[in-house]
């Protein structure tokens, strides 16, 4: 074995400023030991599951083109496993008990062996029980075979995670006892009632309380679990992880959201963040002020700090219940200022999938337009009157009617005549952009409309002011971006630009050919009993989803819940579907915002059986998962995979696990 992660190396790496291990590996042999230790992240000693003695584990540095042989030894008293998140590999090597193999028994060493066919930032974690939440997670960095298109003077991994003082199994048991167990701090109280009544009037406030009460839901219910401490590379905000830079250097930060239940809004006050890769795959550089990370996603970001001062990496969870914090600093021991945490957002009826009322209302002036969406883009305008807005639209002149008419043919259930009439008067409209978004209106994509408004020239500027964010990189939209009327719509803390999925354009696009067929899945759940479903079924009762190798399947995920769901597919890529027809980026996790429908392509190119699940740990654990079985095409003459699929037998499995000793 030419390289192994040793505990000593890990400790050395931790004690240095920075966390990335030096790239020593030139061969493909690695070893990982799964263990358990006591840590004191939050003061009190906690049982933590470790990889090579640390949590998160050491960065596994692979090389594109090599055959990786990774011996994993389980020293726990329970079964364990390692899954390589985002890696394209034979399904038997994917590391999911019940899918790929039978797990790693206590005392056993299993050697995974797979060709490394990609490069970029990924991660690995346990796929057994709730062990990932207990600390079994670590980064993967894969060096590309060809020269890296992403140039930087130095790099560091920034792995975000959430640490809870309660043991993961206790958390799950508590959620089952009382789904509000961890959500008491989000209660709407007499205090918030009085505040809201003062702000919005008593009648509106009572109406609001009744609407939410009728559904037995709370708009403050952003996350299922509170009480987390948020970590960067295992370190809490009080002892921030630090990484050194020299002013003027370009630093590549490999962000990984390894949290069990937490989305983060990430920023580095004072620095522009140039996003250069998403989920391991390079994208055309896009400069933003802030970006949101769903659970399981990775983003590579370039920053060029020029000042001789520390900068704070600041990551707020979506419910704003705290923050993770790290530091980029020219000198060890220095930290930047800590910004205040923004207030907890409140969900809207859009997040409940119930914004039809406002949709209908909008159709008077402009069919399909969501006034609240417009409200967002113009949020800096005090006292904006929506009806006045509608009036401005009508008065715009110079629109290319023929183009409009053409694009509108695709709109489902729209009133064309009304549309034409209202838009007659529009001035200086950006025709191409308009046309694009109109096509999308078949799906009633409100956020698309919202975008478009920003791009319209010749609007009544006295009323409009300047939109706070610059126009998006591309005119297309992506259904996985939050509708502008969502209570969770991301906005940059400095009023600048927030990354959207629509901003992600692949550096080397994979042609997005026409899908072979379409599938729809409903993401559901029962908040009261605390379980989560796909098409109304929990994993324990659901039949597998069958796909045929080589198919491109256009999947629509309809989120019928009020929670986000970071949907993840093992072993195969999602290709994001863009409204403008440009080739979407490849991803392994895509967020499905509450109450929204998201369309993506699954490239079903890998035989075998693969988990398809929500990457929220406790959503997966309580049912939001399916088994995807990819069969060989009928023309291949190969038999279809039986249902349920047998595991690779012990014999077969052992032959794969060369180099492993089986305890």
């Amino acid at each position: 074995m030419r390289f192994s992660f040793s505990g000593t190396a890990a400790v050395l790496a931790l004690s240095c400023v920075g966390w990335a291990l030096p790239t020593i590996a030139s061969a493909g042999q690695y070893s990982i030991v799964i263990g358990e230790t006591e840590t004191s992240v939050t003061g009190a000693p906690q049982k933590t599951m470790t990889l090579n003695g640390q949590s998160p584990g050491p960065t596994l540095r692979l090389k594109e083109g090599e055959m990786a042989e990774i011996a994993v030894t389980n020293t726990l008293k329970e079964d364990s496993s390692i899954h390589w998140h985002g890696l394209i590999l034979p399904y038997q090597q994917d590391g999911v008990p019940g899918f790929s193999f039978q797990g790693i028994k206590p005392g056993e060493t299993v050697t995974y062996r797979f060709p490394v066919v990609q490069s970029g930032t990924y991660w690995y974690h346990s796929h057994s029980g709730l062990q990932e939440q207990a600390g079994m997670l670590a980064p993967i960095v894969i060096e590309p075979k060809d020269p890296d298109p992403i140039k930087a003077d130095r790099e560091a991994v920034v792995m975000l995670s959430d640490f809870h003082p309660d043991a993961p199994n206790d958390i799950l048991a508590n959620l089952k006892k009382d789904s509000g167990y961890y959500n008491t701090a989000a209660r709407r109280t007499a205090g918030t009632l009085i505040d809201d009544a003062g702000k919005n009037g008593l009648a509106a406030t009572v109406q609001d309380r009744l609407e939410w009460g009728a559904m037995r839901m709370a708009p403050s219910d952003i996350s299922d679990i509170s009480g987390y401490t948020f970590l960067i590379n295992g370190q809490p905000p009080g002892q921030p992880w630090r990484s050194l830079f020299k002013p003027g250097e370009t630093v590549r930060l490999r962000f990984i959201n390894g949290a069990a239940m937490t989305y983060f809004d990430v920023r580095i006050p004072g620095l522009k963040l140039t996003v250069v890769a998403a989920d391991g795959n390079p994208v055309k550089p896009v400069a933003v002020d802030e970006f949101r990370m769903a659970v399981g996603e990775t983003y590579d970001v370039l920053v060029t700090p020029t000042e001789d001062q520390p900068y704070t990496i600041f990551a707020e969870p979506l419910d704003r219940s705290g923050y993770a914090r790290g530091t980029l600093t020219p000198r060890d021991g220095e930290d930047g200022p800590v910004p205040p945490v923004r207030p907890r957002p409140l969900l809207t009826m859009t997040d409940m999938g119930m914004d039809h009322g406002s949709m209908d209302h909008g159709s008077g002036e402009m069919p399909g337009m969501d006034h609240s969406a417009m409200g967002h883009d113009m949020k800096d305008m005090a006292g904006m009157d929506h009806s006045a807005m509608g009036h401005d639209m009508k008065d715009m002149a110079g629109m290319d009617h023929s183009a409009m008419g053409h694009d509108m043919k695709g709109m489902a259930g729209m009133d064309h005549s009304a549309m034409g009439h209202d838009m007659k008067g529009m001035a200086g409209m950006d025709h191409s952009a308009m046309g694009h978004d109109m096509k999308d209106m078949a799906g009633m994509d409100h956020s698309a409309m919202g975008h478009d408004m920003k791009d319209m020239a010749g609007m009544d500027h006295s009323a409009m002011q300047q939109p706070s964010s610059p126009p998006p990189a591309a005119p297309g939209t992506v259904s996985a971006d939050f509708k502008a009327s969502s209570g969770l719509v991301p906005s940059a803390a400095n009023g600048g630009r927030m990354l959207q999925y629509a901003d992600l354009l692949p550096l080397t696009p994979r042609p997005q050919t026409a899908p072979d067929r379409a599938m729809t899945f409903r993401l559901g759940g029962n908040m009261e009993r605390y379980f989560w479903t796909i098409d109304g079924e929990k994993f324990s009762t659901a039949a597998p989803i069958r796909m045929t190798q080589g198919e491109r399947i256009r999947v629509t995920l309809v989120n019928e819940t009020m929670m986000n769901h970071p949907i993840h597919l093992h072993g195969m890529w999602f290709q994001v579907v863009r409204s403008d027809g440009q080739d979407g980026p490849l991803k392994h996790v895509l967020n499905v915002p509450p109450g929204q429908s998201v369309t993506l392509d699954i490239l079903a190119d890998a035989l075998g059986q693969w988990p398809f699940h929500c990457h929220f740990m406790y959503h997966m654990a309580t049912g939001m998962m399916r088994r995807v079985i990819v069969d060989p095409p009928a023309s291949s003459g190969q038999p279809a995979t039986p249902d349920p699929v047998a595991f690779p037998g012990d014999h077969n499995s052992h032959s794969q696990h060369s180099g492993g000793s089986h305890g």
């Binding site: 089952k176 701090a185 009762t541 988990p611 654990a621």
Partner: protein
């Protein structure tokens, strides 16, 4: 009156032992059994100088759809005798996102004589966050009883919760030995203000008001039944 202390101990043991049998789900591919036990009310009440200990608890063991449920409630007088002690052993089945139907057996162990009834009920969270339960009791004497319960939590702060509650009881047949007469028998209201030290431990103070109704009001040698009783109470809400 029989001292039911040993029997109540057994009930308490059942209530608290249930969580020990819990098997938390194992990540995925598991639709595990979960256990819950709660003493929603363990309270010392005082009315006109007469003190008593009142409890209401439940325990359950099962999955998301089907559960075994144990309900218990009762009142112990100062002298250690039980004014009332009731146990229900039920099978609970989910019929909607928020509601379960329940069926099983109810035993009234005190006061003497003991009574047994079949239970058919529905229980769940109604719109506007109102916990509701309606039960039909078909007794071995051929009597039919009804109990309707509702309560809700009003959060004054994130930890200080005011819980109004209401309960209505009715029965079809006189039960002279138990000083209960056909028709509406009692209406109870309560107002409890609890402080959630943790989600599992919440001490409270409150007031409860009970009125005997119909024939039950003013009949018998009412040494227990005043027409109307208002009690002050101090209690503890616990979840295991």
């Amino acid at each position: 009156m029989v001292n039911l202390f040993p029997r109540s101990l057994a009930v308490a043991a059942l209530l608290s032992a249930a969580p020990l049998t819990a098997q938390a789900g194992d990540g995925h591919d598991h639709d595990g059994l979960f256990a819950k036990a709660a003493l929603d009310r363990l309270e010392w009440t005082s009315s006109k100088g007469v003190a008593a200990l009142h409890w209401e608890g439940k325990a359950s063991l099962g999955g998301d759809e089907d559960k075994a449920v144990l309900l218990s409630r009762g009142t112990m007088a100062e002298d250690g005798d039980f004014d009332s002690a009731e146990v229900q052993v039920l099978w609970s089945h989910a019929i909607s996102d928020f509601f379960d139907v329940r069926t099983g057996v109810r035993g009234d162990l005190a006061p003497d004589p003991e009574r047994t009834a079949w239970v058919f009920g529905i229980s769940g969270l109604a719109p506007y966050w109102i916990e509701t339960s309606a039960s039909l009791f078909v007794g071995t004497r051929g009597d039919v009883g009804v109990r309707l319960e509702a309560d809700t939590d009003l959060a004054l702060t994130t930890r200080l919760i005011l819980q109004p509650s209401l309960e209505l009881n009715a029965t079809s047949k006189d039960d002279r030995q138990r000083e209960s007469y056909g028709g509406l028998t009692s209406l109870e209201g309560g107002l409890r203000l609890r402080y959630e030290v943790t989600p599992t431990v919440a001490p409270y103070v409150g007031v409860s008001w009970e009125r005997a109704l119909g024939e039950t009001n003013g009949r018998g040698d009412s040494h227990r039944h005043d027409d109307e009783t208002t009690s002050l109470l101090v209690g503890l809400k616990l979840m295991f």
